[in-house]
Symmetry: C2
Subunit: 340 residues, 2 copies
């Protein structure tokens, strides 16, 4: 079915999607349908807001994803930011600029994905804006969240001697993107895992809240631009340096096998591939054993220690052969990268 | 000066604009620079959020505005939504998708306009996202606000017999747009007034708060799509109808003269031109004289009574000749209108 959007109009479309948008009604006074949404902030909490803009041709290709997965991902990347603060997500606001090639059914599929991800995390979709685009599809999601004030985790608290942890294997999404750009031809049962990491990332909201709730992290952020670039941001804001051990970087079997098959360096994908959407955090060394036990006990999967924070502001990389090198730069810059 | 954005990069740009973004520091725990902003909600208030997406070629033409005015307007349209709820604006989140034709200096001019409007209303710019666009310039602003719970004004409270008011002359912005689309040639001292109404609208935040704070409005919204279309929304949500008197619709001298000169119907511009960004509200009839006196006393300008709410759900229009007609449809629909 292909219904042109001009047939139902902006308000007709809003009426159609404006059901099932509230998955957590507590405190919501007004959702979609007025000049602004209105809600009662959770008592005793501070509020958080994050916002992410996804542009067709820059962040995604409509041809190589489904609109349902695109809807899921555009909320997931914001949920991941909320996870990185250790906060609980509340409400999402979705703005769309829609090119004429998309039909009413396409947009409904996009909202189906948004709604799935929203319900999985008890997030309401409380507002937004929908309009035409003469160019690419553009999706902006703003997401609110809340947290007890003393549990919010910033990027700026890392101290010398802290252990550095990540909560998932790195580089899988980068390999998935690489595979897509090659046309998807890798008849291996592991290709699904890599494609899924790129197209359908799982924001680690529970992990972020668990870690923050126990007061483990001195600093935390989500791995969206690649370890090399993201760790640098924690170090800059904290006024410290870091030493990362090559042998400790967690790589999945799928990534190793993929890199071997296509002659790629798995480490480059892990350091600079980006979009891993797991968490990067620092924990005081004396609490290292405790966080490792607690995390594994809660989630049945490990948290990986990949290095430690240093007082000197350099970013160093200790290779498998025992050589100490500057940590390669790299990572994702929306203005500089030619195409993604 | 033309510095390509790729030269400074996304983070270089953020560092450059990330000064003077906080005009009201109370309660702000973290602004731009982490995974999310963090703030302490004002105690005893409910929170409001509104969001608006502006797309080049749909909502504006880069060629016929300055980037400073575009920055002002993209925040102004959100401030106008907050005004329409009777709330106090708090913090703005600005997302941009930037085409390559724009330079660093262009973006700084856009932010200069955003910042001016923000400071005029004591609004902080606490976050956002900046990325490349392969197509048009896209600007999304999300704005938070707060209000005592009992003072928030919705669209749904209009009751039969209520007087209908507007807080400014209608159609000026529509005439300004018409003039721009004709190439701007109208050597009349009043052209500036019409162009200013379109390019640099003044959100009526103080007016909205004043009216809501005194408990006058039973319903309120901002006039963004044109009286015919916006009044219909109040009536639909309130389950009532309306009777609008032609002779009561406030038209500026500039609009009358412009319409005369170009053979246009000033009433069409007033009913369907849109973007007036003044307030449309309903007030119980017995409080009519009081609101008229109080508003004029506070702001030194009139509030205009243009009709009344009826129990029957039709939208009627009483012409100057005494004929009662259906209120013409019309107004702005982002998916249907060919070009604006």
């Amino acid at each position: 079915m292909r219904t042109p959007l001009s047939e139902v109009g902006e308000f007709g479309f809003i009426d159609r999607i404006n059901r099932l948008m509230i998955s957590r009604p507590e405190g919501i006074i007004q959702g979609i349908g007025d000049d602004a949404s209105v809600f009662e902030p959770p008592s005793g909490s501070v509020l958080l807001i994050t916002t992410d803009l996804l542009v067709e041709g820059v962040h995604f290709l409509v041809e190589s994803t489904s609109l349902r997965l695109l809807g899921r991902k555009s909320l997931a990347v914001n949920l991941s930011d909320m996870a990185a603060m250790g906060a609980e997500p509340l409400d999402a606001y979705v703005s769309l600029a829609v090119p004429e090639k998309l039909s009413l059914e396409d947009l409904e599929e996009l909202y189906e994905g948004l709604r799935e991800m929203a319900w999985e995390h008890r997030v309401n979709i409380l507002g937004g804006d929908t309009t035409r685009s003469g160019g690419p599809l553009v999706i902006n999601v703003a997401l609110t969240g809340c947290s007890p004030k003393e549990q919010v985790v910033f990027r700026s608290g890392a101290g010398p001697g802290d252990f550095i942890y990540v909560t998932g294997t790195l580089g899988d999404a980068g390999a998935g993107l690489d595979l897509l750009l090659r046309g998807g031809g890798w008849p291996n049962e592991k290709s699904r895992f890599l494609l899924e990491a790129h197209l359908n990332p799982k924001p680690q909201v529970l992990e972020g809240r668990f870690l923050a709730g126990r007061g483990f992290p001195t600093s935390m952020m989500d791995l969206s631009d690649g370890l090399a670039s993201d760790l640098r941001r924690i170090c800059e804001r904290s006024g410290v340096g870091a030493l990362v051990m090559e042998e400790a970087i967690p790589l999945s079997d799928a990534l190793r096998q993929y890199a071997l098959e296509f002659g790629l360096n798995p480490l480059s994908l892990a350091l600079g591939g980006g979009e891993d959407y797991c968490l990067l955090l620092t924990v005081p060394a004396q609490r290292g054993p405790e966080v490792e036990r607690a995390f594994e006990g809660e989630f049945g999967k490990p948290i990986w220690r990949i290095g430690k924070i240093t007082a000197e502001p350099q970013m160093l990389f200790l290779s498998r052969e025992g050589r100490s090198l500057p940590l390669p730069k790299g990572g994702w810059d929306a203005f500089s990268c030619p195409q993604r």
